[in-house]
């Protein structure tokens, strides 16, 4: 009797998986078709493309002179800057974060690196990133990126099944479905919400008022947050800090060092790098 119930459950699970698999194949087919039709279009215009080599001037004028005239004026300096009314407070948090990084986080991840091979750490990153799929999926929808949302859905299905619960990323390596890095901060920016003042958060690092709201929005969309309701805040914090440390151990730590070490004023260097990087991501 019990056995048949289990078998029934297994049947249901396998039916579900088959269904998801078929959906994936269909979605993937649609994307391949969409991509090939668009690339087909571009290859047909190859003839025209050739003579556009001649008028690269008109095209590249956008990057050339504009760029330069701009950069040498005072205004452009303002464009990449952010208001920082609470700089003394932010600076003290920065000093705290920097110390915490060198005296706590770094020694910890160095040990972790020795114990866990890189491949496994990248696997863990993929696993957490796969779980956080709803964050990217919903933000794609909010931003009107329906193709991106479809890609995320397809990635989730492929990586959860073939990628063994998301530890590997066959969606990228086999199906060329790139991860859509969309967050709620970008969504807010798309709806013309201003950056707001700069804020440096303990442990989290540089952010702005808008991106802080975005961060909270993303937390609400992240299934890992549900863990704190079911398994209690302690487990949830543990899992989140493990994810955090794993990220730092792969490349976040290196990035932090490569920005702050060569800097004359590391606080400003990190702030500026954060803003420039955010501008690029919002433009994408």
């Amino acid at each position: 009797m019990k056995r048949s119930i289990i078998r029934g459950n297994q049947m249901r699970v396998s039916n579900l998986l088959t269904f998801l698999f078929l959906v994936t194949i269909c979605l993937n087919g649609a994307f391949v078709w969409a991509e090939s039709s668009s690339s087909g279009r571009s290859s047909e215009t190859l003839g025209e493309g050739k003579d556009s080599v001649m008028d690269t001037n008109t095209k590249s004028e956008k990057i050339g002179p504009v760029d330069v005239e701009f950069e040498m004026t005072f205004n452009s300096i303002e464009t990449a800057s952010i208001s920082d009314p609470i700089q003394p407070y932010n600076r003290s948090i920065f000093v705290f974060n920097d110390k915490a990084y060198y005296y706590v986080v770094k020694p910890m991840y160095k040990g972790y690196n020795k114990a866990v091979p890189e491949k496994a750490r990248v696997g863990v990153r993929n696993f957490f990133s796969n779980i956080a799929m709803p964050v990217r999926f919903f933000n794609c929808l909010f931003q009107g990126e329906f193709k991106g949302a479809g890609t995320e859905l397809a990635r989730f299905v492929i990586n959860t099944t073939f990628g063994v619960a998301g530890f590997s990323d066959p969606a990228k390596s086999l199906f060329h479905l790139e991860k859509q890095n969309r967050d709620f901060g970008q969504t807010l920016a798309k709806y013309k919400i201003g950056t707001g003042p700069f804020v440096e958060w303990p442990f989290i690092g540089p952010s702005s008022v808008r991106d802080t709201v975005g961060f909270v929005g993303d937390l609400a969309l992240n299934p890992l947050t549900l863990l704190s309701f079911f398994a209690g805040p302690f487990v949830s914090t543990g899992v989140n800090s493990y994810d955090y440390m794993n990220e730092v151990s792969i490349d976040k730590g290196e990035t932090y060092e490569s920005i702050t070490k060569p800097a004359i004023d590391p606080y400003i260097a990190l702030q500026d790098a954060y803003i420039q990087n955010r501008i690029k991501r919002i433009k994408e």
């Binding site: 001649m54 760029d67 702030q271 990087n277």
Partner: protein
């Protein structure tokens, strides 16, 4: 019908390519320059006779000799100082270029010590007669892709890099933000002092 249309387009394409190429590709220099410099740099990093911890200084020196001619350090310094550049005397400018070059040399050449098989790919380039942008990507051995854009300026037909933009973060703009912030509160002499302390 469709087939003949494709043939026509292809014919036009080949026609244009054959006739335009000497002109169109003649100033293809920026992309090629970046590509070749990366290749020369990687060759130094991969050279067996220069590998190992004890050869660090020799390797850094060789790399610097191969790579530095491609950069226009004066242009970089000028842009990093921004509006403050004009107020400086020729001697101060010269000193600043040297200091700034040293910072870039010490920090970025040192970063190559941990080279472990990363790959660079040049994706595309756009340019007019005096400015160019070469878009490339760095593929780390963890499989992460990092976008790297080189901005070049032409001086009588010689292309030189004046800015490197990594994941949207411009190297020159990053230093300009720092210099500006320092110069808001303190004098130029103090800035120079801080740069010297950095060395």
């Amino acid at each position: 019908m469709r087939y003949s249309k494709i043939m026509l387009v292809m014919f036009i394409g080949v026609f244009f390519w054959a006739f335009m190429s000497p002109f169109a590709w003649a100033d293809d220099a920026p992309g090629k320059l970046v590509m070749e410099s990366i290749d020369r740099g990687l060759a130094v990093l991969k050279e067996p006779s220069l590998s190992g911890a004890e050869k660090v200084q020799e390797r850094r020196q060789r790399l610097w000799e191969e790579i530095s001619p491609v950069f226009n350090f004066e242009e970089m310094s000028k842009r990093a100082l921004g509006v403050h550049w004009k107020k400086r005397s020729p001697e101060e400018k010269k000193e600043f270029v040297e200091l700034f070059t040293d910072i870039l040399k010490n920090t970025y050449i040192g970063k190559t010590d941990t080279y472990s098989g990363e790959k660079m790919e040049v994706l595309r380039e756009r340019h007019d007669s005096s400015y160019a942008e070469v878009q490339a990507k760095l593929i780390t051995n963890k499989g992460t892709e990092v976008s790297v854009n080189y901005h070049l300026v032409s001086n009588h037909g010689t292309w030189r890099i004046y800015d490197v933009v990594i994941e949207g973060v411009s190297l020159v703009n990053n230093y300009r933000s720092q210099f500006n912030s320092i110069l808001l509160k303190s004098s130029y002499e103090e800035l120079v002092q801080r740069i010297k302390e950095k060395k």
